[in-house]
Assembly symmetry: C2
C-alpha cells in the first residue's frame, strides 16, 4: 500500500512534470513565434510599400470607380506573388455614386459680401439644382431640436447641424458615435420640416479647413423630397456659427452636382492558405478596399487591407504552416453599401463554409493598442489567457464590443469576431477627407498592427476556437 502510494505519487509527479514541461514549451514556442512574426513585419514587411502604391499610384477608391478596379487588380496581383494556395475575385454588384465637379459654397452677410466655405457633398446625397441653393440658415445641435423648432422656423431654410464631437471621450470613436447621427439622418429628418438642404459640421475633433464626407441615407424619403446634404470644415462651422449670432439673416449658398448611377460590377479580393489539419475551419483577416474619393484612403482603409495581406505574407516568410485555412478578404464597398461584406457572408453560407474566426482592421494604421471582441464569454476567456504573450509588444486592450463592419454579416453566435484597435487620437483628423493621405501613416505603426493581427490569427489557428474546437 505504502509502496503503491509512492509509485502512484511518482507517476503523478512525472505526469505533472510532463504537463508543466509541455505548458512551458508551448508558452515558449508561442513567445518565439510572436517574436518571429513581429521581427518579420518590422524588418522585411511589405505593407508600407503596398500602401504606397495603393495611395500614391491609385488614390481614392470609391466603389464603382476606375480606381476601385485598379485596387482590385493591384492587390490580386500582389496576393498572386505571395504563393498562396488560391487567389480569386468574388463578384459583387456595388452602388456607384459620383461626386462630379467640386462643390462650392459661401455665406453672404450683406449683398455681394461673401466668405467662401470648404464644403463636400455627403456620400449618397442628391445634387443641388444646377444653379445651387441660396437660403437662410438655421443652426441646430441635434435632430431632436428639429421637432422643437418645427416647420415654421425650418421651412425654406438650410439646416446647419453643428454638434461637435465631444472632446472628453478618450476613445474618439465614442465621440464619433455621439455626433455622426446628424450626418447620417440629418437630411432625411430636415426634409420633413420643409428644409431646402442640410449642411453638417465635419466629424473631426480638430479645428481645421478640411471638410469630411461620409455616408448618409434618405431612408424611404420620396425622390421629390430628397434634399442635398453636405459637410463643411470644423473651422467653417465655427465661423458660420459665430457669424449667425451676429446676423441671423445670413444667406448660405452651395452647389453640388453629385449623382447616383445604376449598380456596377465589382469584386472582393480573396486569397488563402489551406489548413494542414483542419482545412474546413476558416479564419478570415481583412479590411475594405474601397474608400471615399477625398484623400487617398490610406488610413481608411488602405492600412487595413495591406495589414491583412501582410498577415499571410508573414506566415509564408517565417514558414508557418497553418492548421486551419487562413483567408485574407479585401472587401469592396464598406463605405456606401457594405455590399462586399454581405456578399462574402452570403456565399459562405451558400457553400456551407465553417468560419471560426474573423478579424478586421478598419480603424486606421496607427500604433496598435489591442482588440475588441464580439464573441461568447467562453471564447473571450480563451483570448484573455493570451494577454501576457502580447505584453512585450505593448498590446493591452482586450475588450468585448464591436468588431468590423465587413465581417459583421458572418455573425452566427459561434464565430469569434474581432477588430484591431489602434490608437484612436489622430484617426478623425484624417477620416473621409483630403487629409487621409499616405504621409500620415507611419511605417512602423502600420507594421506593428499587421504583426499584432498575425499574432492573434496564429494563436486562434494553433489552439482553435474554444467553442468550435474538434
Amino acid at each position: 500500500m505504502k509502496s503503491n502510494y509512492k509509485t502512484r505519487n511518482k507517476i503523478g509527479l512525472l505526469s505533472l512534470l510532463l504537463i508543466l514541461g509541455n505548458l512551458v514549451l508551448a508558452q515558449s514556442t508561442d513567445e518565439d513565434q510572436l517574436r518571429e512574426i513581429y521581427d518579420s513585419a518590422l524588418t522585411e514587411g511589405k505593407s508600407y510599400d503596398w500602401l504606397n502604391h495603393l495611395s500614391n499610384q491609385i488614390g481614392g477608391r470609391l466603389s464603382g470607380s476606375i480606381q476601385a478596379q485598379q485596387a482590385v487588380d493591384f492587390t490580386k496581383s500582389k496576393l498572386d506573388e505571395l504563393g498562396l494556395d488560391q487567389v480569386w475575385l468574388q463578384p459583387v454588384m456595388v452602388p456607384k455614386w459620383v461626386r462630379g465637379t467640386p462643390e462650392f459654397a459661401y455665406y453672404e452677410t450683406d449683398p455681394g459680401i461673401t466668405t467662401n466655405i470648404p464644403i463636400t457633398a455627403l456620400g449618397g446625397s442628391v445634387a443641388t439644382p444646377p444653379k445651387g441653393i441660396k437660403a437662410k440658415v438655421i443652426e441646430v445641435q441635434s435632430i431632436a431640436e428639429l421637432d422643437e423648432l418645427g416647420a415654421d422656423k425650418i421651412a425654406g431654410k438650410i439646416v446647419f447641424f453643428n454638434r461637435p464631437m465631444d472632446a472628453k471621450h478618450i476613445n474618439t470613436f465614442e465621440a464619433y458615435s455621439g455626433s455622426v447621427g446628424q450626418r447620417g439622418s440629418g437630411a432625411k429628418e430636415a426634409t420633413k420640416f420643409g428644409a431646402l438642404g442640410v449642411i453638417v459640421r465635419s466629424m473631426n475633433l480638430r479645428l481645421d479647413d478640411f471638410p469630411h464626407t461620409g455616408g448618409m441615407s434618405y431612408g424611404d424619403t420620396p425622390e421629390n423630397l430628397k434634399i442635398p446634404a453636405a459637410a463643411i470644415s470644423t473651422n467653417a462651422a465655427e465661423l458660420l456659427s459665430t457669424s449667425l449670432k451676429l446676423n441671423p439673416d445670413i444667406q448660405f449658398y452651395f452647389k453640388q452636382n453629385c449623382k447616383q448611377f445604376d449598380d456596377v460590377q465589382s469584386f472582393n479580393v480573396i486569397g488563402e492558405i489551406k489548413g494542414s489539419t483542419h482545412p474546413d475551419e476558416i479564419i478570415v483577416v481583412g479590411g475594405h478596399l474601397d474608400s471615399w474619393d477625398l484623400g487617398d484612403g490610406s488610413h481608411d482603409d488602405g492600412a487595413g487591407c495591406v495589414q491583412s495581406m501582410e498577415v499571410l505574407r508573414i506566415f509564408k516568410a517565417i514558414g508557418y504552416t497553418p492548421k486551419r485555412t487562413i483567408r485574407v478578404v479585401l472587401f469592396m464597398n464598406e463605405e456606401n453599401g457594405l455590399r462586399g461584406g454581405k456578399k462574402y457572408a452570403e456565399v459562405a453560407q451558400k457553400n456551407k463554409e465553417n468560419h471560426v474566426f474573423a478579424l478586421e482592421s478598419d480603424s486606421g494604421g496607427f500604433t496598435p493598442r489591442g482588440f475588441s471582441f464580439d464573441c461568447t464569454d467562453e471564447n473571450f476567456k480563451q483570448v484573455e489567457g493570451w494577454k501576457n504573450l502580447f505584453e512585450p509588444y505593448n498590446i493591452h486592450m482586450f475588450n468585448k464590443g464591436g468588431s468590423g463592419a465587413d465581417i459583421g454579416p458572418l455573425k452566427d453566435g459561434k464565430i469569434v469576431l474581432a477588430g484591431l484597435r489602434p490608437d484612436s487620437q489622430r484617426y478623425f483628423d484624417h477620416h473621409h477627407s483630403d487629409n487621409d493621405t499616405f504621409e500620415h501613416v507611419n511605417k512602423r505603426e502600420l507594421e506593428l498592427g499587421a504583426a499584432t493581427m498575425a499574432s492573434l490569427v496564429y494563436l486562434f489557428d494553433t489552439y482553435g476556437v474554444e467553442t468550435i474546437k474538434k
Copy 2:
C-alpha cells in the same frame, strides 16, 4: 461577556464599515478627480496654444541663443498669468555652441561628378578647416571595428559610422540606445587612429532626407586632435554605403564652421503652488526648455514644458488645493550640458529642500502610454496600486527603469523619480532634426499626456510618497 462580545463585535463591524466606506469614497473621489483633470485638459487646456507660440513664434532654442532667452521670458510670463504662489528664474551658466552657416557636403565618384548630401554638424563639434575636408571614406558599423581596422586603414580618411537603429525593438528608445554611441563617441575614438573627420548615420528609424544632430563629446582629446563630426540623413547613409561598395575610392567632402563660445548666463524657469499641509514636501514636474537649433523643438522638448505648465494650470482650474508644494521646473540646457538639472539639484541641496517626487516629460508629445519609475520597490508597489485608476485613460505601462535626464541629479535614494512614457514609434522620425515641428504634434495627444502627468502628481500629493510620508 456575551453582551460585551456582541458590543465589541458591533463596534468592530461599525469600524469595518467606516473603513470600507472611506476606501470606497477615496477611490470614488480619486476617480472623479482624475476625470475632472482629463476633462479640463481636453476641453480648456492651454498646452497646445503655448506650444504653438514656443514653436512658431520663437522656434529652436539652443542654450545661449536669443530664442532660449525668449522662451524663458515667454514661459515665465505664462506662469505669472496662472496665479501661482511664486514664479522665479533660477540663474545658471550654460555652454554656447553655435552652428554658423549651413553645413555643406557631397561625395565625388569621379573628378567633378558629385552628389550633394544632407548633413548637419553634431552639437559640440569643432569646425572643419575653412575650405572643408575632402578625403576617402571608411565605413564601419561600430567603434569596436576601429580597433580591428587599425590606423593603417583609418588614418587620413573620414570615418563613416553607419550602424542603423535596430527596427526589431518595440520601444524605439532601446533602438536609439543601441546606436547612439557612435554619435556620442565616434569622433573621440576615430581621432586616435588618425581619422580626419567623422560622419554618422542619423539616429532615425525612417529612411528620409533629414540629418539629425545631437550631442557628442571629445572627452579629454587634446585641442589639436579634435576632428569635426557630422550626421548625414538615413537616405544619404544608404546611398553612400551602396556607392562605396561600387567604388571604395569615393571622396567625401564636408564643410562646417560651428564654434564653441564661453559660457553665458541663462535660467531655469520655476513656478509653484505652496502645499497647504506639507509645504516642505516638494513635488517637481518638468521638461527642458532648450532644444537643438534644427526644427522648432516641438517634441523635444517643447511638449514636456507645456505639459508641465499645464499640470499647474489644471490644478488651479479645477480648484484643487495641493497638500504638498507642486513646482513646475523648465530646465535649461538638457541637450548639451544638463547644466539646468545640475544647478536645480545643487540649489535644492544647499537650501535643504525636501523633494519627494519628480516627474519629467521628455519623450515627445505623443499619446501617453504610462510611466517609468526610478524608485524603491516599496514606492513602486504604491504606484501599482493606482494602475486601475488609469485604465479608463488607456494608461497601462508602469515599469521600473529610467526617469528623465534633468531630474536625475535629484536622486538621493528616497525621492521617487518618474518619466512620462508616450508612444515611441514616431519620436525618432523628428528628434533633433528640421522635422521636429509643431504640425507633428497632435493637440489631444499632447493634452492627454498633461492630464496623465497631473493625475500622477495628484495621487502622490494626496497620499504622499510611501517611504517619506509623515
